[in-house]
Symmetry: C2
Subunit: 282 residues, 2 copies
């Protein structure tokens, strides 16, 4: 599954060649849910296994294991970054999740180099970190909107790769997901927001301005995904026009990642029989 | 419900008079679930309402509403602070929850006054903050284990009340829950941990030493609950021997709190028809 969605390291990619409505499954294609009902059920079923692995990861950290996972979510407006957090991360124990939504940098953040605010929000050992947007904004919106000189932006791809490599060296498994939405599906989702007054707070006229820059954003994503899909921290393209599939696919990526880490409950370093005796007597 | 579990301001309290297995419901007693199956179902049903109110609270903050909620969980070892976070906070959108588990203070934390680390972990406007242990440890374990001079501890109750009052003045609704466990139930839970090697990481022989100080801890709780149950930030005693009831009661307290706040989706400050036109054309 991970292999299937992974962006090959060192190549070029053409997002136009990726189907935003695709339903891709395991290598044999057998275990991808074929429809919404099956997808919702399969995602719910993964919840228990995910939560169990998450508990093991946390437990293991109490005995000195420094491993942790960082899920990076990127995508155009309405691609479902927030929905993924709600529906996928909602399957887990919130106490072990460290979620950060990156907004436009504050004045204080702008006074530091672009990775400064990222370093301050990393998961601790045993935790699952989730970035809703990330340091990639500094090569996406920053590139499209020309928020920094082009040479500086060019330098950032290498800085990101070095940074992510330092994370993986420190025990962080980085799982990067681009939620790949179609131009038409975005229009439908934005129109839906307009139709529902309870969703107006999620809408800003700026969303339409970003939409007008769609080709430039797609190009910026293609460059970022190609240059920063590394062996240490690969990018994955998640077809995101179907919410149920998006949630299933991200859950599945997390599950495969945690199963590969295979964290174990640590053994106690105390005398169990002696403890039992003291409790029964007390 | 809140009234029923609330510790009266300014009085003395005798925890021995509170039944740890009680099943208390609303003022008319009608809506308390009578058994585990009903309790689990009722808690699950509250999930959707809780999540809806949480979304409104968050949405409202995007329009400048500074209100937020801080849930403080205290209780003896195995009383279920972590379980409450998992099962109650797990009903909510994790993106809007800011959870902090307070451990024994680090060297850095000890170099500051006792509320310093608390101030650094408060919920932001629109968020639900959850403290698994809290500044109350500084008048609980600190009192029982004599970690500070008695006069200093005596001063802390007033400092806590002043601090919490400043929080409520700033839009924070503080909901404090003491998970009230019986001595016998704690023994059973600790023995269960010993029986399951996958739970040994949760056990430390120090738990038995704390258990030997049970009466001193109960007294420290009685003093803290009596002195710090204020009109601004009352304490609630949650019967905690039954996990399903504990989860139901805390969910119910949160639900009543959020319903009273009654946050509203903000209106959009843009021209909806104009936005629709631009989208349909684009």
């Amino acid at each position: 599954m991970r292999e299937l969605l992974r962006v090959p390291a060192g190549g070029r990619i053409d997002l136009g060649g990726y189907d935003t409505r695709a339903v891709r499954g395991g290598p044999d294609g057998l275990d991808a849910p074929g429809n919404k009902a099956a997808g919702l059920a399969a995602t719910a079923r993964m919840g228990e296994r995910l939560a169990g692995l998450q508990e093991r990861l946390w437990a293991s950290s109490t005995a000195g294991d420094r491993r942790r996972v960082l899920l990076v979510l990127q995508g155009m407006d309405t691609s479902g970054k927030g929905g993924t957090v709600k529906h996928v991360i909602g399957l887990l124990n919130p106490a072990g999740c460290r979620i950060h939504a990156f907004k436009a940098p504050t004045k204080k953040e702008r006074a530091h180099e672009f990775l400064w605010r990222v370093r301050r929000n990393l998961p601790l050992p045993g935790e699952l970190g989730i970035f809703d947007r990330s340091h990639y904004e500094d090569v996406l919106v920053a590139r499209v909107r020309e928020l920094a000189p082009r040479e500086e932006i060019e330098d950032r791809y290498g800085a990101i790769n070095t940074f992510e490599r330092s994370l993986t060296d420190d025990g962080v498994t980085v799982v990067k997901c681009f939620l790949h939405l179609s131009y038409d599906e975005q229009r439908d989702r934005l129109l839906k927001r307009l139709d529902n007054p309870d969703k107006h707070w999620k809408f800003s006229p700026g969303d339409i301005e970003d939409r007008a820059l769609w080709p430039a954003y797609q190009e910026a994503y293609e460059i970022a995904l190609a240059r920063c899909s590394t062996g240490a921290a690969p990018w994955h393209v998640i077809p995101a026009d179907r919410k149920w599939y998006r949630n299933w696919a991200v859950s599945r990526l997390l599950l495969e990642t945690l199963e590969e880490l295979d964290p174990q409950y640590p053994e106690g370093d105390f005398d169990v029989e002696r403890a039992r005796e003291r409790l029964v007597k007390g």
